[in-house]
């Protein structure tokens, strides 16, 4: 039922941002992508190694980002965490968007009863708070990386579905789709070749926000004691495990928080750029 009033325009929530801003997005994303790929090799210390007696140590030449709550090198931990957050959240966001979009496409070109059934099921999944769902799943089955991804997908694919479905439903009435129908094209062809390319922009914009949500979900899970396996951590968990340093403004807390901020803003700026680029063409 609630699929009805889904304005596709809401997905273009990002305002057009002029060019210097766009390059910022690309640079930030590139930075984090590079960090995710080579970061762990750059780490001066082992991610679990206690290197200092000083906990929540300040920035220093020896420990450029200070030390964490156990006296481990924060820079090394950040470099490892970046890979998890970027990789995990990116994969999960991409997969949820993709899966949501494909289910939406399938629903849009399906016979009425199947379409209704899919919508109802997705509605039910949306209605269950994603944090709850994540909690139940991770609590039950532990938190391996694939399971975290699956959790994020179950939690966020229905949201992607909702947006993609409203797009697909309106695209399905487009004249070029009707032309394809009168050409006797299969549903698969219509979905993939005629409709999908026209949904990518809003789906991309949605992907940006979904990415943010998944980063937050991961950190939320770490709050509840779930998430990436130690000694590794994701950025959110780093914030969480070092929250004790908040009162003293520990670098161990601020660095990962800033990292999350720049990452999300960067990703959204980049996606904004990609969609406006596609629009321009």
């Amino acid at each position: 039922m609630s699929t009805s009033v889904s304005n596709p325009s809401r997905t273009s929530a990002l305002p057009r941002i002029t060019s210097p801003w766009r390059s910022v997005g690309a640079v930030v994303c590139l930075f984090w992508l590079v960090m995710a790929v080579i970061g762990p090799w750059l780490a001066p210390h082992d991610v679990g190694q206690v290197v200092s007696d000083d906990i929540f140590g300040p920035l220093s030449a020896q420990y450029p980002l200070g030390t964490d709550y156990m006296g481990r090198d924060m820079l090394s931990r950040m470099l490892v965490a970046a890979r998890y957050t970027v990789g995990l959240a990116l994969v999960a966001a991409l997969l949820s968007s993709m899966i949501g979009t494909f289910i939406a496409l399938a629903a849009a070109v399906s016979p009425r009863w199947l379409e209704d059934g899919i919508c109802r099921l997705m509605d039910a999944l949306i209605a269950i708070p994603s944090k709850m769902l994540a909690l139940v799943i991770v609590a039950g089955f532990g938190s391996s990386v694939p399971l975290l991804i699956i959790t994020a997908i179950i939690g966020y694919a229905p949201g992607a579905f909702r947006i993609a479905y409203s797009l697909a439903a309106s695209l399905y009435t487009m004249e070029y789709v009707q032309v394809a129908q009168t050409r006797g094209e299969s549903r698969l062809y219509i979905a993939l070749r005629e409709m999908l390319p026209n949904m990518l922009n809003p789906v991309l914009a949605d992907l940006g926000l979904r990415f943010v949500f998944i980063v937050l979900l991961l950190s939320g899970l770490s709050f509840l004691g779930l998430g990436v396996q130690p000694p590794d951590a994701d950025l959110g968990s780093l914030v969480r495990e070092n929250i004790g340093g908040l009162s003293q403004g520990a670098a161990a807390l601020i660095a990962p928080a800033l990292a999350i901020g720049t990452l999300t803003v960067g990703v959204n700026l980049l996606i904004d750029r990609i969609s406006s680029h596609r629009n321009g063409r």
């Binding site: 039922m1 609630s2 009805s4 009033v5 889904s6 304005n7 325009s9 809401r10 997905t11 273009s12 929530a13 990002l14 305002p15 057009r16 941002i17 002029t18 801003w21 109802r120 099921l121 509605d123 039910a124 999944l125 949306i126 209605a127 269950i128 708070p129 994603s130 944090k131 709850m132 909690l135 139940v136 799943i137 609590a139 039950g140 089955f141 926000l209 943010v212 980063v215 937050l216 950190s219 939320g220 709050f223 509840l224 959110g236 914030v239 969480r240 929250i243 908040l246 009162s247 807390l253 928080a257 999350i260 901020g261 990452l263 999300t264 803003v265 959204n268």
Partner: protein
């Protein structure tokens, strides 16, 4: 209110019931395949197998899942949400006070966040493309990205520990005066606002911009109306549909998504109750909470849809 709307609401309610049914099956299935059951959870670390067996027998956990589901469902039909397995209290009793708290927090947060979000969204829309718009956009995005436990803890540290303006804990039962109310609710509401305002503001902006790009908005400009009047008097009423939908989605977060805020501020709401229930495998309670969340969500979406219809004379007067 035409029969059309009544008919629509009726149809929506029927669909909602169906959705709830699916949700209950999904949740039951998930809790059923979770390792461990409430007998083990109740008895804890030092339980003996005999004790667990005895308790299972007592709680009826030995029956197949389908029988248990049908039992629960039968109870539901007769208006009985069942009993909590962990402490033998009726589920309704456990929910009672907490539901009020959750609703109160949601209400206060909505009352604060919705106007703020609308204000930010509309302002950004009016100055779209301008510097203010870009700042707001980046700011809201950055705010979305801050983990809420960080916001909450920081807020407590500053406003409760250092300044002692507001209370670090939020007890609905402490509220006896308006001042106490402010002390109690400010910090959790502030934290939640951080989380949901950004999203609502972005959606509002998008919806209003959509309308401001329409011919009638251009016409209004050519009629000599000011930006503010165009945005508020002309664009906003037509953007009610999408905005209401965005608000509904964000507000539905205030039911189930606030577990972290409830934990940090020790606010006894339903979200933390459900976390408990999941931990204890207290299926009746899990189901009841989920049903509540989902009903809340469905109700909000319904309200959003109805307000979209009411705001649109074409649909309203059909």
């Amino acid at each position: 209110m035409s029969t059309h709307i009544l008919w629509l609401i009726g149809r929506r309610l029927a669909a909602a019931v169906l959705t709830l049914l699916i949700v209950s099956v999904v949740i039951f299935a998930i809790t059923a395949i979770l390792p461990g059951d409430s007998a083990q959870q109740i008895l804890g670390q030092f339980a003996t197998p005999e004790q667990i067996e005895a308790l299972r027998q007592q709680l009826g956990l030995n029956q197949p899942a389908i029988v248990r589901y049908l039992d629960w469902f039968g109870g539901l039909l007769s208006g009985n949400l069942g009993e909590s397995m962990t402490n033998n209290m009726p589920v309704t009793e456990l929910l009672q006070g907490r539901l009020g708290n959750t609703l109160m927090l949601a209400l206060v947060t909505s009352v604060v966040s919705v106007p703020v979000a609308l204000l930010l969204g509309i302002t950004a829309a009016i100055y779209r493309g301008g510097r203010l718009d870009k700042c707001l956009s980046t700011l809201t995005l950055a705010l979305v990205a801050v983990p809420e436990f960080l916001v909450a803890t920081l807020a407590v540290l500053i406003f409760a520990v250092k300044l002692r303006w507001f209370s670090a804990l939020s007890y609905a039962s402490d509220v006896t005066s308006p001042l106490a109310f402010i002390r109690t609710y400010t910090l959790p509401v502030m934290t939640l606002c951080f989380v949901i305002v950004a999203q609502m503001a972005r959606m509002t902006r998008a919806a209003v911009v959509d309308q401001l790009d329409s011919s009638y908005a251009e016409m209004a400009r050519l009629k000599g109306l000011g930006n503010l009047r165009i945005a508020l008097v002309h664009a906003l009423p037509n953007a009610v549909g999408p905005i209401a939908n965005a608000i509904a989605l964000s507000l539905s977060y205030l039911f189930g998504g606030v577990v972290i805020v409830e934990t940090i501020f020790n606010y006894p709401g339903i979200a933390s109750l459900m976390v408990d229930a999941v931990t204890n495998r207290d299926i009746a309670l899990v189901q009841a909470c989920t049903m509540l969340f989902c009903s809340g969500y469905l109700l909000l979406v319904l309200i959003a849809d109805v307000s979209a219809i009411l705001s649109n004379p074409r649909l309203r007067t059909r």
